[in-house]
């Protein structure tokens, strides 16, 4: 039903009102911090602790109401991500750009995600956030894109932004691109 209506509204050029987005990435890459920054409604948790399972948060950006599934990045919980792939409208993949050691791990997780049957045939936008750019030895977003082989992703719109969840730098641009993608694409195909 809702798919039909949204298609209808897309036809009339109306913007989508509400989207479901899942946010994944290795542990300690800054997912929960980004979410708390995006919420920007004043009640930010001063202290971010490792997420166990998932957190569900809402925030509004421009005309779009985001429902964010902030997944736990801990190794033992990563297999739970796939349970939420099915009905999501977009994916935010957060990378700790200062953690060179585990880039390979992150890449492996990304490959698993892209190959998952629930996602492989859908044209949903993926936003890569190369987080922790404020750290001195952080890699640049270009280097990370190369390391991940992002150019091979042909069937989904994607973009990578260097961000800092502590200062909020770069986040605005990323979300703006993401929102645009979400409102354009007919994600229900």
């Amino acid at each position: 039903m809702s798919g039909f209506f949204s298609r209808l509204s897309a036809l009339f050029g109306l913007k989508k009102k509400s989207v479901k987005v899942i946010m994944v990435g290795l542990n300690n890459s800054g997912k929960s911090t980004i979410v708390s920054l995006l919420k920007s409604d004043g009640d930010k948790n001063s202290e971010i602790v490792p997420t166990v399972g998932l957190n569900i948060e809402h925030f509004r950006y421009q005309q779009v109401l985001f429902t964010m599934f902030d997944m736990s990045g801990q190794g033992k919980h990563r297999y739970l991500w796939e349970r939420y792939y099915k009905n999501c409208d977009g994916i935010i993949f957060v990378i700790d750009s200062s953690d060179r050691l585990r880039l390979a791990v992150a890449k492996e997780e990304l490959n698993l995600l892209l190959k998952h049957p629930d996602l492989s045939n859908r044209k949903i936008p993926i936003l890569f956030l190369a987080n922790k750019m404020d750290v001195r030895e952080a890699l640049s977003s270009v280097k990370i894109a190369n390391a991940f082989g992002l150019e091979k992703i042909k069937d989904k719109p994607w973009h990578i932004f260097a961000t800092s969840a502590l200062t909020g730098e770069g986040l605005q641009n990323g979300i703006e691109w993401f929102t645009e993608q979400l409102s354009q694409g007919d994600v229900y195909t």
Partner: protein, 884 residues
């Protein structure tokens, strides 16, 4: 209005959830995935899932997990009604679904969030999905919640902590300080729950509990406000008092309970009074203030208080008669109470304590309303009558008439059984009442819809009837059952008839006619019995009749069946030896069985009861069948000894030994427990140093023994041929490979461990490990004793002096315990100077043993003449020697 609603319900088909189908409901649960979430649609679906679960519908792991994950999506919605259902759903599914920790962070957020509506429920749900390993992540939040200002949050956290302490006691113990603080809360519930948690944490530590109670009772004026917490404190105090024992008069705890009698709140006052009269070892003066409180309550205008008081008095009527007597006047007033429950309790209390002269009057009172009260209270009345009969045997006529009238009324099995039990008790206790009682019971079985009761009564008639003056009058009643009843009762009736035939020779011809008729019965069991009894009775041989009808042999039926099956399978040409089957376990008279209609009835011909006696021997035999390497032992398991501890408790490794005797082999079963959380033991075995003559056949080790688990290791030994060598001691050592491991996960740090051993106490093999008790009554023993020599038994005799025995009783217990046999026909020995113990037994290999010990008090201790008769001379000698 009501009619209208009824109509509507009819149209709806009554319960809207009645015809729910699991599959379709779970199908509906997919709606949870829609965006945006529709609370109106989702809430009823969740309700349906909960309904199904509570109706006992089983969800598979996949189904449950799928439903659970769909439910997690509902956290998107902020609708409070839906959220509440989600919490409930999480709690219900937390045991069924996998990966339930997925909601941990979501719940933590709700529990610490601003929305008070969510918080308490979120805590409860969170604790249901958290296990010991995950608890650390939420520990901080739990501590905060316990001291939260909001009482519902604090209560939820405290109660959840109590639940969690079952799985993660160590973590919860760290929250004592927070619980302490919660104890100071203004809210009555929080105080109560905080005290509950504090006590639970400390309850194994007696000193800590004492301290807790002492601190709370000392300055009670400003600390505890909650009446519930007070009640709890009273209970704790009383538990401590009972444990400490001794004199209560100078105990501060007793002083506290007494002070609570003057508390403003009635609940507290009642709790204190009830606790005081229930305490053991109190003097009359100590309980008198409590009694006056109860007395006051008896006259209260509130029915609840009257009921509580009279129920308490009823319970303690037998233990503290003086307490109740002082309330007699008030109880008299309550007899006419409009509330029937109160009246019943009042009358029965009076019956328990009253004088003989009052009985008739009170019985008349009860009769006036007995039909109006429920079965449960009728049983209370019956029990009061039972006590009364034992107290005033002369009143049995009035009471018996009353009971038989009650028997004829409508009532459930439990009620009828309690009446029958009471009559049976009266018959046994009072020989004068026997004839009347049996007559009443005969009348009752004429029209009895409870099969088990009829069978019991028929069995009793068979036992008691022949001993009456005119046995023939019962035959008609019994034979009527053969004509009119169902097969089970007919079979019991046939057995009862046979009893008459064997014990009353002048009735025998008639019984034979009746039994011959029973041989034409349609039911197999009845026919078999009739044929069996008819054949034996018609042989007219005293010994046969006695051995096979009056006192049939005691044999463990389960084992007999197994050995016979084995015999058939092996097709061996040897004759089956009945003596290789261990005798049935002797049913010792515990409190439960003492209530049975036939207390002397370990000799039971009632078929319904026989399968219930599943002895420890056969249950062990079954267990051993499942242990690889133990099936090969020839012969059947013969004797199981009591487990012996080979280590001190509270040591690193805890080992107990159970000795299992086979005809030619001895199996030592070592139950080993590892109490070190940082060690994993592998290849655990017990090495015994077998003494001369014994040969170790096989050792069975435990491959893996993780922390806090108990597994069995076995050693199989062959008994020495020379019997004198069988009584001995073995040195024993526990040998194993230790692997150090992580205490929380139990995963070993390294792959290779090191060998270690641990000395155990010696295993003692005594004579009692080789003898199984058999039950025999005194007459049978005497007969066997007399004929023993003719049957080729050898006798061995010796006289001993048992020094250091203070009393005869002590000596008897010692001897019985040493042989672990069952003395027959042992009467009270407290005030006698000599006693004779008769102990029949069976030595392994089916050798019958008869032991007679005459004990007498002499100037220096107790002297004993010990005589053993056995079919095997060596056995007799061995037992005699072992006693010395």
């Amino acid at each position: 209005m009501a009619i209208k609603r009824d109509k509507k319900e009819e149209e709806d088909g009554g319960n809207m959830f009645q015809n729910l189908d699991k599959t379709s409901v779970l199908q509906d649960a997919r709606t949870f995935n829609d965006t945006p979430v529709n609370p109106r649609k989702c809430t009823p679906i969740l309700t349906k899932i909960l309904f199904l679960l509570n109706q006992g519908e089983q969800l598979g792991t996949t189904e449950a997990t799928e439903a659970f994950f769909a439910m997690t999506k509902l956290f998107q919605s902020k609708n409070p009604v839906l959220r509440r259902m989600v919490y409930l759903g999480i709690k219900e599914l937390s045991n069924l679904a996998e990966d339930v920790i997925i909601v941990t962070s979501s719940l933590t957020k709700d529990m610490t969030g601003k929305e008070d509506l969510y918080r308490a429920a979120a805590i409860r749900a969170l604790c249901s999905i958290t296990d010991a390993t995950m608890l650390q992540t939420i520990e901080r939040y739990m501590k905060q919640a316990i001291v939260d200002k909001n009482p519902s949050v604090a209560s939820a956290a405290l109660v959840s902590s109590l639940h969690m302490s079952k799985t993660a006691g160590d973590v919860v113990k760290r929250w004592v300080n927070e619980a302490q603080e919660a104890l100071n809360s203004d809210n009555v519930m929080v105080q109560y729950h905080a005290l509950g948690l504090l006590y639970h944490i400390r309850k194994t530590d007696r000193l800590a509990v004492n301290k807790l109670v002492a601190r709370l009772t000392s300055d009670r004026s400003n600390r505890l406000k909650s009446p519930f917490a007070f009640c709890m404190l009273i209970r704790i105090a009383c538990k401590q008092l009972e444990k400490d024992g001794g004199d209560y008069s100078d105990s501060p705890l007793f002083g506290f309970v007494e002070a609570c009698l003057r508390h403003k709140n009635e609940t507290v006052t009642y709790e204190a009074a009830a606790a005081m009269v229930n305490l053991r070892n109190t003097t009359a003066r100590q309980v008198s203030p409590a009694v006056s409180v109860l007395q006051l309550f008896c006259n209260s205008s509130k029915p609840a208080l009257r009921f509580a008081a009279v129920r308490t008095l009823n319970k303690v009527a037998m233990t503290h008669p003086p307490v109740v007597t002082s309330c007699n006047l008030d109880l008299e007033n309550l007899i006419t109470d409009p509330n029937r429950s109160i009246a019943t309790l009042a009358i029965t209390t009076l019956l328990k304590t009253g004088a003989e002269s009052a009985v008739d009057r009170l019985m008349k009172q009860i009769a006036s309303f007995v039909s109006e009260i429920s079965d449960e209270f009728k049983i209370v009345v019956v029990q009061a009558i039972r006590a009364l009969c034992l107290k005033f045997p002369r009143k049995h006529n009035t009471l018996m008439t009353f009971l038989s009238a009650m028997l004829r009324d409508e009532g459930g099995l439990e009620y009828k059984a309690s009446i029958a039990d009471t009559i049976i008790t009266i018959i046994e206790d009072n020989p004068d009442a026997k004839e009347i009682g049996l007559a009443h019971l005969c009348e009752f079985i004429e029209d009895c819809e409870h099969v088990s009761l009829a069978v019991r009564i028929l069995h009793l008639l068979g036992k008691e009837g022949p001993k009456t003056i005119q046995p023939s009058r019962y035959i008609r009643f019994i034979y009527n059952r053969v004509i009119l009843e169902i097969a089970v009762i007919r079979a019991a009736a046939v057995s009862a008839l046979a009893q008459f035939g064997s014990l009353c020779p002048d009735l025998l011809p008639n019984i034979l006619v009746l039994l011959a008729r029973c041989q034409m019965d349609t039911d197999d069991e009845v026919r078999d019995r009739a044929t069996y009894y008819h054949y034996i009775l018609s042989l007219q041989e005293k010994g046969l009749i006695f051995n096979y009808i009056v006192d049939p042999m005691q044999i463990c039926l389960v084992t007999l069946e197994k050995s016979l099956a084995q015999q058939v399978q092996e097709k061996s040409s040897t004759k089956f030896d009945l003596k290789s089957v261990p005798p049935a376990a002797v049913v010792t008279m515990t409190e439960d069985t003492a209530k049975e209609p036939v207390p002397e009835g370990s000799i039971s011909t009632v078929p319904a009861k026989a399968p219930l006696i599943q002895s420890t021997v056969s249950s062990y035999a079954e267990k051993l069948q499942n242990v690889p390497g133990l099936q090969s032992i020839p012969g059947v398991l013969f004797h199981v000894s009591e487990p012996v501890e080979l280590t001190e408790s509270e040591t690193e490794y805890f080992v107990t030994c159970t000795k299992l005797a086979f005809p030619n082999h001895l199996v030592l079963q070592f139950e080993c427990k590892n109490t070190l959380s940082d060690q994993l033991l592998e290849n655990v075995r017990v090495q015994v140093e077998a003494s001369e003559g014994y040969r170790v056949v096989k050792e069975i080790s435990i491959p893996r023994l993780p922390y806090n688990e108990t597994h069995n290791a076995y050693v199989i030994l062959q008994f020495p041929d020379q019997l004198a060598l069988t009584v001995t001691n073995f040195g024993a050592t526990l040998r194993f490979i230790v692997k150090d491991c992580d205490p929380t996960t139990g995963i070993p740090d390294a792959d290779d461990g090191y060998d270690d051993d641990y000395m155990l106490e010696d295993v003692e093999i005594s004579i009692s490990d080789q003898i199984e008790k058999i039950s025999m009554d005194k007459e049978a023993f005497d007969r066997a004793w007399e004929t023993a020599i003719e049957d080729g038994f050898t006798e061995s005799e010796d006289t001993f002096n048992l020094p250091g025995m203070g009393s005869l009783e002590q000596a008897v217990t010692k001897v019985v315990k040493f042989l672990s046999l069952e003395p027959t026909g042992l009467t009270r020995i407290a005030d006698r100077s000599s006693v004779m113990l008769c102990m029949p037994g069976m030595f392994r290999g089916g050798i019958e043993v008869l032991i007679r010990a005459k004990l007498a008090v002499s100037n220096n201790g107790v002297s004993m003449q010990f005589t053993v008769k056995s079919a095997h001379p060596e056995v007799a000698e061995l037992i005699c020697a072992a006693v010395g």
